[in-house]
Symmetry: C2
Subunit: 377 residues, 2 copies
């Protein structure tokens, strides 16, 4: 550290230079992230609550109220009643917390999940000293229910199902998995991405995947993905709030008696941002955003298909993976044209996430370049 501080002007210039080296959603070139430009009112809300720390809730009664209201809104959206829950930093923390609760409640160590589950499940299992029992998926890349049925047993603490897989946006058959899990194991739903998409789709033809399914014990959804809030704003909801007791740690010197969150000091500006986004948009606002993302997704799929590039599965959300001849070189060629896409591993394909920062115009331009670079290959 330098002896003397640098002038504010100089520091601000350094920050601006750094920001210029970051990519920005507003440029409409990022098809490789599940985050997006937060709603302007969410940004403003975030900046207003920079001090807020629900790790010490007694000092932040206003933020606490916003959090409770947000959870109430989400409980209703997800057909829950008297759910417990709190804001977490992201679905990774939510997945870890849910499995921690399942382990401590059941005193069992096995987690059953399809290989299409997010890698944070693997991380959680290692962290918690649990064992992952991986099951296959069906030909639509959804968890294989029969395989789960064969694996759920006396050592199973929890099953993890996904509503909106990271690679393909697929939804596991959560209603059937719920039947299997009822009274046998925890069922945690990772709806990080799908939680703010599925309720707002025009023609949802997915079977129930939320708290309508009696077997679902907990669910996480990210307001900082399709919820249009700022990072960190994710919500962990649990059917039996009493299960939180199993992971509670006494928290002396704070205004709470126990702490059930993984983190201690917590940025709670995201709480205000999530509240602001949900209040400002309402169901109709989210429906519009989701409809636009789906239109742009369909545009890209149609153009690609015309050129013989097929999606791995027909997308039900705004995530789609394309079978291209050479995934790496296509990704590199698109990168050279300024488009950021990612890849899926299972199957190996070009993965495209069409978030709200993508306009109709950039979706078209992207589709054009996707076709161009694929035909060159």
């Amino acid at each position: 550290m330098d002896e003397r501080g640098a002038p504010a002007k100089k520091v601000m210039r350094e920050l601006r230079e750094a920001s210029e080296d970051d990519l920005h959603f507003r440029d409409g070139r990022i098809f490789g992230s599940m985050c997006t430009d937060p709603l302007p009112i969410a940004r403003r809300a975030h900046a207003m609550f920079l001090e807020a720390n629900l790790g010490n809730p007694g000092y932040y009664k206003g933020t606490w109220r916003l959090e409770r209201e947000t959870l109430r809104i989400l409980s209703k959206l997800l057909h829950g009643r008297n759910l417990g829950g709190f804001t977490v930093s992201g679905a990774t923390e939510g997945n870890i917390t849910a499995l921690w609760m399942a382990r401590n409640t059941t005193r069992r160590k096995e987690v059953v999940a399809a290989k299409t589950a997010h890698f944070s499940v693997r991380k959680a299992v290692d962290l918690l000293g649990m064992r992952l029992v991986e099951v296959p998926h069906d030909d639509m890349y959804r968890a294989d229910v029969d395989a789960i049925g064969r694996k759920v047993g006396k050592d199973t603490a929890a099953v993890v199902a996904v509503a909106g897989t990271t690679e393909l946006g697929q939804v596991d058959p959560i209603d059937e998995i719920g039947e299997l899990c009822r009274d046998r194991a925890f069922l945690h739903v990772d709806a990080a991405f799908g939680g703010f998409v599925l309720p707002f789709l025009d023609h949802p033809d997915t079977p129930p995947w939320d708290f309508r399914v009696a077997g679902v014990s907990s669910l996480v959804l990210d307001a900082h993905k399709m919820g249009m809030a700022t990072i960190p704003a994710s919500h962990l909801l649990v059917r039996e709030a009493s299960h939180f007791r199993k992971i509670a740690v006494e928290s002396p010197y704070l205004t709470s008696v126990y702490q059930t969150s993984l983190l201690g000091t917590r940025n709670s500006a995201g709480v205000a941002a999530a509240y602001a986004a949900m209040r400002a948009l309402g169901r109709s606002g989210y429906r519009q955003i989701v409809a636009r993302c789906m239109r742009n997704t369909r545009t890209i799929v149609r153009r690609a298909r015309e050129a013989g590039i097929e999606p791995v599965v027909e997308p039900i959300m705004n995530v789609v993976a394309f079978r291209v001849h050479d995934v790496e070189s296509t990704q590199r060629a698109l990168d050279a044209k300024g488009w950021k896409v990612s890849t899926s591993r299972n199957p190996r394909a070009l993965r495209v996430v069409v978030m709200p920062h993508i306009t109709a115009k950039s979706a078209l331009a992207f589709a054009h370049d996707l076709v161009a670079v694929s035909q060159k290959g």
Copy 2:
């Protein structure tokens, strides 16, 4: 969720009302938190990097550079060389990550710590399926080195020592503990609070507590406490970066190949805030802030002492606990006068944290009321 969104004006009014129900550091009444009002330039930096997500580092090269530079600055401040590390959301995440690394590297399960360690150590141990071996402290509330020596054995994964205990701001004899741990167990230093105080004290008479001590494997310090940055900005530094490999999880669909952080999507606005605070203040800036906090702490101790109220130990940092007749009723009486203090459990005492948002005037006014309510009791 309502069908229609609420007008922006209405949402903003609700947010303002919530903010009014929160306490604010700027009012100078909070002596019960280790957080403070961030530096204005840190707030500005935070707001500039709301999108940044180092969970997906390839898109945020500017933020990444700020993080690397911040870690370089801190490595030097803490006398480390070629340290590994990254920004974490807080010392809780830092403590968990360090113990996770220790468990996976040593394949042992015991964590040795004094009962004066932060409760997040207990949380980490439960989460990780480890065992806590609690050792006593000396009469100054520092970890008892001899007791640690007796407990470190073939099952010990790590020892946790503290530079700035939460209750009393005491510093464990880290140099001696380091000697004990060398080549026998990981030694993790929780410098959440002390990390931004000890290097800037006028007359530091604590023995070495950072990477000068050869036995220290890792250290966490919170820029969102005395570092004047925003939440979340905490730094985990490790002597052997290669140990991160033991907790790495493959991270497909992202721009990184492996992820070694506990969290996935990460608010990285705190990275920019920490950078801005350190650059703008420099050593001299932090020295001034620490000097002012220490002056105000001494004012409170002197006034209290004149009235016969003794601190548990002579404070070496801006945390002090007072022996008062009835801790709860004193806390309540101070609360009624608008002062927020917390309590310590070991020993039961009135705990006062004198953060940078406390002015000389509010320190005096607080001391006056502390004396008044104590004499009434």
